[in-house]
C-alpha cells in the first residue's frame, strides 16, 4: 500500500475540517481505518503499533464528530497531529521520523495554546517537547555519525539508543518528567479528543521509537535494568498522583504515566535478554500493554469529554447504562482485570518480571515488581474514583450521545482480551487437553522454548464468566432487588462523599511525599513534587542570571572599558599562542 495516500488523506481531512468540522473528522476516521489496514498488512512487530495508533485515531475522530465545539482550529490541528504521528510511525529514516515527530509536537502545542486559560501549560509542553526532540536528535546524529547512514540500520554501539531513549522517555512523561504528560492536559484545559491522542497515541510514538532503536542496538543488560527501574518508579508515582488527582483529565493523564512506566519496564526486561525466549515474550508484553493502554485510555478520555467541568467534585454529567457499562469495562481493564485486554497485559508484565527474577535470581525485577504492584493498587483506586464520580454514582440519568463511542471502545477492550492470542507468536500459544483447554486458546509465558512458566486463557475466562452467569440466572432467576431508603444514622440528610475526600487518606499518610500542607480551612498537596522542584530550580536560575546580567551589564562606561581591555588582551594572547 502506498503510504502517500494516507499522508495526503490526512492533509485533505485537515483542510476540509477548516470549513466543515464534521466532514473533516469523518475523513480523518476513514484514513485512520486505512492506516489500520496498512498496519495489518505490514506483518511485522511494528504493524501492531500502526494498528493500535490507527484505532485510537479512529475512535477519537468518531467521537469528535459529536464533541467538537471548540471553534475553527481544533479540528485541523487535531488531524495535523495525527498526520505527524503517522509520518513518524512509518518513516524508515531519521529525518522523516524527526519531521513527523515535530509536526506532531507543534500541532499539539497549538491545540494546547489555542484552548488556553493560562499561558504556561503550552510553553511547558513545548519546553519539554523540545528537550525531548534535542535528545532524540542527538541520538540520531550520533547514530548517523557511526553508521554514515540516515536509514534505520543496525548500530554498532548502544549510545544512540541510550541518548534517544531519554528523549523518548521525556515525551512519555516518565519519572521524573511526569509534568510533560499531566500539565498540558490538566492545566492546559486540553479538549478531550486531543487529550486522548496526546495520551494514548503520542506516547505510543515514543514507545515505538525506543523499541525501534532497541531492536537495532547491541545488547546492554545494565541499561535494561536502569530502564526497568525508572519504569517501576513511574508506575508508582504516576498511579499515586492519579489517585490523589481531582482533575477529570489530569487523573487519566497521570494514569498514562503509570501505564507508560509499565511499558518501559517491559522494554527494560526485553533489553536485559533480547535474544531469548524470555526477551521475546517481554517484547510482546510491550505490544499487548501498549494496545491495552492506548485503547482503554482513549475510551477513558472520551468519558471525561462527556462531562462538563474539570474538578471531579463539580462536574455535571449525564449518565446512563451505556456510560456505566463502558466505564466499568474500561476502568477494570485499566486496573488489570480479566477478561479485558488490560488483564492479559498486566498478567504478561508480571510474568515477565517473575520470570526474569526466577531465571537470573536477580533482586531488581523483584523490587520493581513490588513497586509496580503497589502502583497498580493506587491505579485501581484512581480508576474507581474516576468512574464513580463521572458515571456510576454522580450525575443525572439521561440520554448522552457522547457516551456511545466510549461504550463501543469498552466492548472492543473486553473482546480484544479474548482475541489477544493474535499478539503473541506461535511459540507462546498452546493448550492443555487434560484441562479441556483447546490447542490455540492458552497463552504461555516461557523461560525457554521448552520450559513453561505460566499460562492464561482469556477466552475461557470470558466464556466461564458467561456460562456461570447464565447457570446462576437459570437456577435462581432474576436477582430479587429490594430497594430501601438509605439509613443514614437515622437522619434524613444524605451527604455525598467528595472525590477529594476519596483520596485524602493517602494525602494524610504520605504527607512528606505529597507535600501535604494542612490548614484549618484547606488542605493543599503538590500534584507533582518533581515538577515543584524543577520549577523552583528554574526560578532560582532565572533570578541568578538576572542578577548576574544586571551586575555585569550595569551601564557603567568604566566597566565596559575594562571588559574591552580584558577581551583585547585575551584575544591577543590566543592569537600569539595559536
Amino acid at each position: 500500500m502506498n503510504l502517500l495516500i494516507v499522508y495526503l488523506g490526512f492533509i485533505i481531512s485537515a483542510l476540509i475540517s477548516i470549513f466543515n468540522k464534521k466532514l473533516g473528522y469523518t475523513f480523518s476516521a476513514i484514513f485512520s481505518s486505512i492506516f489500520i489496514f496498512y498496519g495489518v498488512s505490514v506483518g511485522n512487530i511494528f504493524g501492531y503499533f500502526y494498528v493500535i495508533a490507527g484505532l485510537v485515531w479512529l475512535f477519537s475522530s468518531i467521537f469528535s464528530i459529536f464533541y467538537d465545539n471548540y471553534g475553527r482550529w481544533l479540528s485541523p490541528l487535531f488531524i495535523i497531529s495525527i498526520l505527524g504521528m503517522s509520518v513518524a510511525f512509518t518513516s524508515n529514516n531519521y529525518v522523516s521520523f524527526l519531521a513527523g515527530w515535530e509536526i506532531m509536537t507543534i500541532g499539539s502545542y497549538a491545540i494546547i495554546g489555542l484552548n488556553k486559560k493560562i499561558d504556561y501549560p503550552a510553553f511547558t509542553f513545548m519546553g519539554f517537547g523540545e528537550l525531548s526532540t534535542v535528545l532524540v536528535l542527538a541520538g540520531f546524529l550520533y547514530a548517523y555519525n557511526v553508521t554514515g547512514n540516515l536509514e534505520f540500520t543496525s548500530l554498532p554501539t548502544a549510545l544512540p539508543l541510550i541518548i534517544s531513549t531519554f528523549g523518548f522517555m521525556i515525551k512519555m512523561g516518565i519519572f521524573p518528567f511526569l509534568v510533560t504528560e499531566w500539565l498540558p492536559i490538566a492545566h492546559g484545559n486540553s479538549p478531550a479528543n486531543a487529550s486522548a491522542i496526546l495520551s494514548a497515541s503520542m506516547t505510543l510514538v515514543a514507545i515505538y521509537g525506543i523499541v525501534k532503536m532497541a531492536l537495532l542496538s547491541p545488547i546492554l543488560p545494565i541499561f535494561g535494568y536502569i530502564i526497568m527501574s525508572i519504569g517501576g518508579f513511574s508506575v508508582f508515582f504516576g498511579a499515586l498522583y492519579a489517585y490523589v488527582s481531582n482533575h477529570v483529565k489530569g487523573l487519566p493523564a497521570f494514569s498514562t504515566i503509570e501505564n507508560n512506566g509499565a511499558i518501559l519496564t517491559s522494554i527494560g526486561a526485553y533489553m536485559i535478554l533480547p535474544n531469548s525466549t524470555l526477551g521475546y515474550f517481554a517484547l510482546h508484553t510491550v505490544i499487548v500493554f501498549a494496545f491495552a493502554h492506548s485503547i482503554a485510555k482513549t475510551g477513558i478520555f472520551l468519558i471525561s469529554g462527556s462531562v462538563e467541568g474539570e474538578d471531579l467534585d463539580h462536574i455535571q454529567s449525564i449518565r446512563n447504562k451505556l456510560g456505566k457499562i463502558g466505564g466499568i469495562l474500561l476502568t477494570s481493564s485499566m486496573s488489570g482485570l480479566l477478561p479485558n485486554i488490560g488483564g492479559v497485559a498486566t498478567w504478561s508484565l508480571l510474568q515477565t518480571l517473575f520470570m526474569e527474577a526466577y531465571a537470573f535470581h536477580s533482586f531488581i525485577p523483584i523490587i520493581v515488581g513490588s513497586i509496580v504492584a503497589m502502583g497498580e493498587g493506587f491505579a485501581t483506586g484512581a480508576m474507581i474514583k474516576f468512574i464513580s464520580f463521572t458515571q456510576i454514582f454522580k450525575g443525572k440519568e439521561g440520554r448522552n450521545v457522547k457516551l456511545f463511542v466510549p461504550f463501543l471502545v469498552s466492548l472492543f477492550v473486553l473482546f480484544s482480551g479474548s482475541l489477544s492470542y493474535v499478539f503473541y507468536p506461535k511459540i507462546f500459544i498452546g493448550g492443555v487437553q487434560s484441562l479441556g483447554v483447546i490447542n490455540g486458546l492458552l497463552i504461555f509465558s516461557k523461560l525457554s522454548p521448552t520450559k513453561i512458566f505460566g499460562g492464561i486463557s482469556p477466552l475461557y475466562v470470558l466464556f466461564l464468566i458467561g456460562i456461570f452467569s447464565v447457570i446462576t440466572l437459570a437456577i435462581f432467576g432474576k436477582p430479587k432487588v429490594r430497594r430501601t431508603e438509605v439509613w443514614n444514622n437515622g437522619v434524613k440528610k444524605v451527604e455525598s462523599y467528595t472525590a477529594f475526600a476519596f483520596a485524602n487518606n493517602i494525602r494524610m499518610m504520605l504527607t512528606k511525599l505529597l507535600r501535604t500542607k494542612i490548614y484549618l480551612h484547606s488542605l493543599e498537596t503538590s500534584a507533582d513534587i518533581f515538577w515543584e522542584f524543577m520549577y523552583r530550580l528554574s526560578k532560582k536560575y532565572v533570578d541568578f542570571s538576572r542578577s548576574l546580567a544586571r551586575s555585569y551589564m550595569n551601564s557603567d562606561i568604566m566597566w565596559y572599558m575594562i571588559y574591552m581591555i580584558i577581551a583585547f588582551i585575551i584575544v591577543s594572547i590566543l592569537v600569539v599562542i595559536l
Binding site: N246, N489, E495, Y497, A501, L520
Partner: protein, 377 residues
C-alpha cells in the same frame, strides 16, 4: 485564681463567685462555610460505637477533620420538675444521668442547703463525699474501659468491667442501690451496710493499670490525640493540661479539706494525659474513702424561700445547680453539666484530627449526653 466555669441560668459561674449576666465570650476563629473538597459526614444519632444517642456532624476532607459539631439535643428530654416539692424533684434529678446520680443530687441538695437554716452534720457531708468519690472511681474505670474497648484491647477492658461491677456491688451493699437512687435527701444519706472495704479494688486496679500504660500500641492511639490546653476547660480535661482546677478545693460546702488527698495533674493535654489523670484519681479517691468512717447520720435542715447555687466536682468536672424554692416547691431550676462544657472542648480538640483517632478522644472526655439534652419544665 478566679476562673470561669460557665453559664448557669441567668448567671455566669466562676470558681469563687457568681455574677449575673453572660460569661465573657472567647473570640473564636471566624466560621468558614463549606470549602473545596470538604463535605459533612453525619455520625449518629443512631450508630454503632456510640454509647448514647448523639448526632455529630463532621466536616471533613476525608480522614482529616476540619470541624465537628456535636448535637446533644437530638433526643431532648423535658423533665417536669417545676412546681414539685423537693423530695419529688430529687427523685427526677437523680435519674437525669444515673452514672453521675450522686453528683447531681448532692449539687441540688447543696444549693438548697446554702439558703436554708438548720444544723448541718459533718458526718452527713462525709457520706456525700463518699458517694461522689465512689462515683468517680466507677466512672473513671468506665472511661478507661471504653478507651481500651475502642482499641480492641479487650483483656484489660473485661478486667475493668469486672472491677466496675465489683464497685457497683459495694455501692449497692452500702447504700441499697448501685446508682444511689433514693439514697440522698436533705436530712440524711441512707446507709444499709456500714461494713464494706475497698482494699481489693485498689489492689486489683494496681495490677491492671501498669499493663495498660505499658502497651505501646494502645498508648500510641492516645498520645497527641485530641490535645486541648484551654484555661476554660474543667475537670480531668483541664487537669490533664496542667491546670489545677477542682471544685473540691474551691467550693467548701462539702468539707473536702478534712481529708488528705492530692489532685493528680498531667501536662500533655491529650487523651493519654486524661487517662493518666483519671487513673491517678481512682487511687486518690480510694485514699479519701479510706479516711471516711462509715456510720449512719442525720441532720435537720429547715428550707427557706430563696435561691442558691450548689457545685460539686463530678467525675468529669464542675457540676452546678441553681435552685429557686418558693412555698417548699421548686420554681426555677438550672443545670450546668460538665458534659455540656466538655462537648465544646472535645469539638475543639478534634480540629485537624483524623477519623481513626475519633473514638479514643471521644471516650477520653467522659461525656454523658443524658445530662446535656435535658430541659426543666
Amino acid at each position: 485564681m478566679k476562673r470561669i466555669i460557665g453559664k448557669l441560668g441567668k448567671y455566669c459561674l466562676y470558681s469563687d463567685s457568681v455574677i449575673e449576666g453572660e460569661c465573657p465570650e472567647v473570640k473564636e476563629e471566624e466560621e468558614m462555610g463549606r470549602v473545596v473538597g470538604s463535605f459533612t459526614f453525619t455520625y449518629g444519632p443512631s450508630a454503632g460505637g456510640l454509647f448514647e444517642s448523639v448526632k455529630m456532624e463532621i466536616d471533613t476532607f476525608g480522614e482529616y477533620i476540619r470541624k465537628i459539631a456535636v448535637d446533644p439535643y437530638f433526643k431532648l428530654r423535658e423533665i417536669k420538675v417545676l412546681g414539685k416539692n423537693i423530695d419529688d424533684a430529687l427523685l427526677l434529678i437523680e435519674r437525669i444521668n444515673a452514672s453521675f446520680s450522686a453528683s447531681h443530687s448532692i449539687a441540688f441538695i447543696s444549693a438548697i442547703e446554702k439558703f436554708s437554716d438548720g444544723e448541718t452534720n459533718p458526718d452527713v457531708s462525709y457520706l456525700r463525699i463518699l458517694e461522689i468519690e465512689l462515683e468517680r472511681i466507677r466512672n473513671n474505670l468506665f472511661v478507661i474501659e471504653r478507651m481500651a474497648e475502642s482499641a480492641g484491647f479487650l483483656v484489660p477492658a473485661y478486667q475493668l468491667l469486672y472491677l466496675i461491677e465489683k464497685v457497683n456491688r459495694k455501692i449497692g451493699k452500702i447504700f441499697g442501690h448501685r446508682y444511689f437512687f433514693g439514697v440522698n435527701s436533705l436530712n440524711e444519706v441512707r446507709i444499709i451496710d456500714d461494713n464494706v472495704k475497698f482494699d481489693d479494688i485498689e489492689r486489683e486496679f494496681k495490677e491492671i493499670y501498669p499493663d495498660i500504660i505499658k502497651n505501646r500500641i494502645f498508648i500510641d492511639r492516645l498520645q497527641n490525640n485530641g490535645v486541648i490546653k484551654d484555661e476554660r476547660s474543667i475537670g480531668p480535661v483541664a487537669r490533664a493540661a496542667g491546670f489545677e482546677y477542682d471544685a473540691r478545693r474551691e467550693d467548701l460546702h462539702l468539707p473536702y479539706n478534712d481529708f488528705d488527698f492530692s489532685i493528680p495533674r498531667y501536662d500533655t493535654g491529650d487523651a493519654f494525659g486524661r487517662l493518666i489523670v483519671r487513673a491517678e484519681e481512682v487511687f486518690e479517691s480510694l485514699r479519701i474513702i479510706s479516711q471516711i468512717k462509715l456510720k449512719r447520720a442525720r441532720q435537720s435542715i429547715k428550707v427557706n424561700e430563696g435561691e442558691g447555687i450548689g457545685r460539686v466536682e463530678s467525675p468529669s468536672g464542675d457540676l452546678a445547680y441553681n435552685v429557686s424554692i418558693s412555698n417548699g416547691k421548686v420554681i426555677d431550676l438550672n443545670l450546668l453539666s460538665p458534659s455540656s462544657i466538655n462537648i465544646k472542648f472535645f469539638s475543639k480538640s478534634m480540629v485537624k484530627n483524623i477519623f481513626t483517632d475519633f473514638p479514643f478522644n471521644w471516650e477520653s472526655f467522659g461525656i454523658w449526653i443524658s445530662e446535656v439534652g435535658v430541659k426543666f419544665v
